[in-house]
């Protein structure tokens, strides 16, 4: 005989304001097998939990139903409470009467009726629950960080510091990411390279860190604690061990006209190159699309000049397979395509540039040696217009609906530095709102306006007209003066929206980690679990989770590392007991289940069965490995004989819920 206890939570007024809690208790108390029903203002509070524990003991409950918030919120809390009272935690069911009832309905009668039905369904399911015991799985004590920008670097360093080995996979030939391209950092104006390169060097020197540069993640399998990852090390055509990074090959290479990605195409590199002076690893790489030797076998100059004998034209991509306990996504961002905003004439004039291009033009290691010169004619610009929110906060198909968060501050930085270095310039900033939440951020922006005489204009630019004399006619609105302005500018800088790396979507699919509609990784909880993906064992660091600046990225990277360290410190993980199992007597060995299993958790055994006539017969039957099964249930539907079922979500349980709802 089952004995079910029902507990209905008020959640303060969150539930009680729209659901008549007493009526729910009364109705559910009448359900068969229910021996106890009560309500409480906050079931998740300690005294609420005590109420549950006491009832379990006192009434010798065999099942518990809690009508409260979403099970995604407190199922774990209530299961723990049940366990501490001696009840198997998997005998607890939660009816979601907050998110899926009280919060979406206004009519009290309607909401109360729905809450009762949801409670009945939970009781029906609880009656069919069986005690489950979670298995354990081992933890591979090594982490993988995907992406070698500041987010990935910081996460890797913190994990390594705690004593765990960690690998960084970076698709470019060097780590460093966007921060390596930036000139100065706000709000302190430290030199970006000066604070980044020591960290890059630390990565290279730390015994616990391995860097797979010029590499990509090829496939991911497994689950939290034991992932298996294949990494494609793209052919560099340079032996990583032999190359000393002397750079002689990059000086002798005859192919001189390859646009230099690091300087965003403002100057050229060779076909064999080292991305920049402080690259880590400092190893040359040959661009197979441009190298004459690789294209048609005619050259070989680099091989001849290399004293270390590191050049190897026959090198091929290499696949490395490695095991990890945790994976960190740190794939960062790209600058969105500004050509979609034709009114800004980015394609029509070389003197309309993006902010990242501006960084290269003011960087001492950049194409102009840090002297701000117009890309079109190399002359010194006198009037510079900065345009904010180019593509950000744009709800059209071509834009990004979110605020890119960093543009207000870097534009203030650009404007301030320009005025400081070139007092003969006039600098205008067109803004919609200036957003500067952050320590010393608003003070920084105000300094640009107050001390450096940057003209901040509330309004937008409608059109940029490139003139025959090389100037740019900027047509704009000044909303405070209520007038249309025309500024004749020498240089226009677009604060382009940032967007997640194009590689992120493919990676998310491999990791089975969810993404939002903008292709940012989704966090497990926006407030309480901001650095974890809902997929166990996957962690998030940096802009791949949402726009953020360097200080915020570094803090998040550290937080992410702490979560990874917490996981890797465990020797065993408790698994999910809601896994599939097959009834051997019903199984006909058809393989339908194994064919749909995404984890290869199902194998077949030849097993001896006693037949009714006392003979024995060997039959082929399915067997599920509970450590590998993730509990999706695909096999249960594929099984034609009905042998396969899923613990915690069994066929009979879901049927019972259906019946209770349609009753």
């Amino acid at each position: 005989m089952q004995k079910i206890g029902v507990f209905v939570c008020h959640c303060g007024t969150n539930i009680a304001a729209t659901v008549d809690v007493k009526a729910v208790v009364d109705a559910l108390a009448k359900e068969p097998s229910v021996v106890f029903a009560a309500d409480y203002p906050y079931m998740c509070s300690e005294s609420g939990q005590n109420l549950i524990k006491d009832a379990i003991r006192e009434h010798e409950l065999t099942g518990v139903v809690i009508c409260s918030c979403s099970p995604r919120m407190h199922e774990v809390t209530f299961r723990r409470a049940a366990a501490s009272a001696g009840l198997n935690p998997y005998l607890v069911e939660v009816a979601n009467i907050r998110e899926q009832c009280s919060w979406i309905h206004k009519d009290k009668a309607e909401a109360t009726e729905k809450a009762i039905i949801l409670g009945r369904a939970a009781i029906a399911k609880a009656l069919l629950n069986a005690p489950l015991i979670a298995g354990e799985s081992p933890v591979t004590k090594r982490a993988l960080v995907i992406g070698g920008g500041i987010a990935g670097i910081q996460t890797a360093l913190d994990i390594a510091e705690a004593g765990f080995p960690v690998d960084i996979v970076e698709q470019k030939p060097t780590i460093g990411g966007k921060m390596a391209q930036i000139d100065k950092t706000f709000p302190t104006l430290d030199c970006s390279a000066c604070i980044l390169t020591p960290k890059m060097v630390e990565c290279a020197q730390n015994e616990n860190i391995r860097i797979f540069s010029y590499s990509e993640v090829e496939s991911v399998s497994g689950f939290v604690g034991s992932f298996t990852v294949k990494i494609r090390k793209k052919a560099r055509y340079v032996d990583e061990v032999k190359c000393t990074g002397c750079g002689l090959c990059t000086e002798k290479c005859p192919v001189k006209n390859v646009p230099n990605e690091f300087n965003l195409g403002f100057d050229n590199r060779r076909a064999v190159y080292i991305p920049f002076a402080q690259a880590i690893p400092k190893i040359a790489v040959i661009d197979p699309d441009r190298c004459n030797m690789l294209k048609n076998g005619k050259c070989g100059l680099c091989s001849r000049v290399c004293e270390a004998g590191a050049i190897n034209y026959k090198q091929t991509d290499e696949i490395v397979e490695e095991h990890y306990g945790a994976i960190v996504a740190a794939t960062g961002y790209e600058i969105s395509d500004v050509t979609r905003y034709g009114e800004y004439a980015y394609t029509e004039s070389k003197d309309v540039i993006t902010s990242l291009e501006f960084e290269r033009l003011t960087n001492a290691a950049g194409p102009t040696g840090g002297v701000l010169l117009r890309p079109s004619d190399g002359k010194h610009p006198h009037t510079i217009v900065f345009i904010q929110c180019v593509g950000s906060r744009c709800v059209l198909e071509k834009g990004k609906p979110y605020c890119s968060k960093i543009c207000c501050m870097y534009t203030a930085k650009h404007a301030m530095l320009t005025r400081e270095k070139y007092p003969d310039t006039e600098v205008y900033v067109f803004y919609i709102d200036v957003r500067t939440p952050g320590k010393n951020f608003d003070e920084f922006y105000r300094r640009a306006a107050e001390e450096f005489g940057v003209h901040y204009i509330k309004g937008a630019v409608g059109k940029i007209v490139p003139r025959a004399d090389g100037t740019l006619d900027v047509q704009a609105a000044d909303l405070i003066m209520d007038e249309q302005l025309r500024i004749s500018a020498d240089l226009v800088v677009l604060a382009a929206a940032i967007e997640p790396s194009k590689t992120a979507r493919k990676l998310a699919t491999m990791l089975t980690a969810s993404m939002d509609t903008n292709d940012f990784f989704t966090e497990a909880h926006p407030k309480l679990r901001p650095v974890e993906s809902p997929t166990a064992g996957i962690f998030l660091s940096g802009v791949c989770q949402g726009p953020k600046d360097i200080p915020e990225t570094v803090s998040q990277a550290g937080a992410c590392a702490a979560k990874v360290i917490g996981l890797l410190s465990k020797n065993k993980l408790t698994g999910n007991p809601c896994v599939a199992h097959s009834d051997e007597l019903m199984c006909n060995g058809c393989s339908s289940c194994a064919n749909v299993c995404p984890y290869g958790a199902i194998t077949y055994l030849d097993k001896e069965f006693r037949m009714p006539d006392r003979t024995t017969k060997v039959r082929r039957v399915a067997s599920v490995n509970p450590a590998v099964c993730q509990g999706c249930g695909a096999c249960t539907v594929a099984c034609p004989s009905g042998a396969m079922d899923l613990s915690g979500f069994s066929n009979s349980q879901i049927m019972a819920e259906v019946d209770a709802i349609c009753r």
Binding site: R72, I104, H105, G633
Partner: protein, 146 residues
């Protein structure tokens, strides 16, 4: 049974724990209303939904059944939603053969971030089913409530 204007259909929604169930929670958190006659059953993945569950629902008097899963390519279990799509295509054509109107069943992809979409989807589904009136074709008279 008379089709009157007060007709309130019974709707069963099977929601994947990783996406649309969370999407439904989000529409709650954001207070985005949808009709109370939608009752959600949590499943670990849309591919857990056995066609027999849907038949059972219709037999027990449900007027519409909707299955919500992760967007193609986003399945927590990699390929579960593709199975759902294939299975439900077959089931729906069978239901069609049985005379169950096509609009009584739906498969929708709703992510955990799409609270708005969840509420809109439910509103439109309820509207469609309400327009069709009560389900009679598969209903088992012995299960009728009144």
């Amino acid at each position: 049974m008379q089709v009157n204007e007060e007709f309130v259909p019974t709707i069963v929604a099977f929601c994947c724990n990783w996406c649309s169930y969370a999407g439904a929670d989000l529409s709650g958190t954001n207070r985005l209303p949808y009709p109370a006659n939608v009752k959600i059953i949590r499943v670990p993945c849309s591919c857990r939904v056995n066609p027999t569950f849907i038949l059972r629902a219709f037999q027990r008097g449900a007027d519409g059944v909707i299955i919500c899963g992760c967007h193609p390519g986003d399945c927590h279990y990699t390929t579960g939603n593709y199975y759902t799509r294939r299975r439900m295509t077959l089931l729906f054509s069978m239901l069609d053969y049985l005379g169950i109107e096509r609009a009584r069943t739906r498969v929708e992809w709703v992510s955990a971030a799409e609270g708005q979409k969840f509420a809109e989807t439910m509103r439109s589904f309820v509207k469609d089913v309400t327009a069709l009136g009560p389900n009679r074709r598969l209903e088992d008279l012995r299960c009728r409530k009144d």
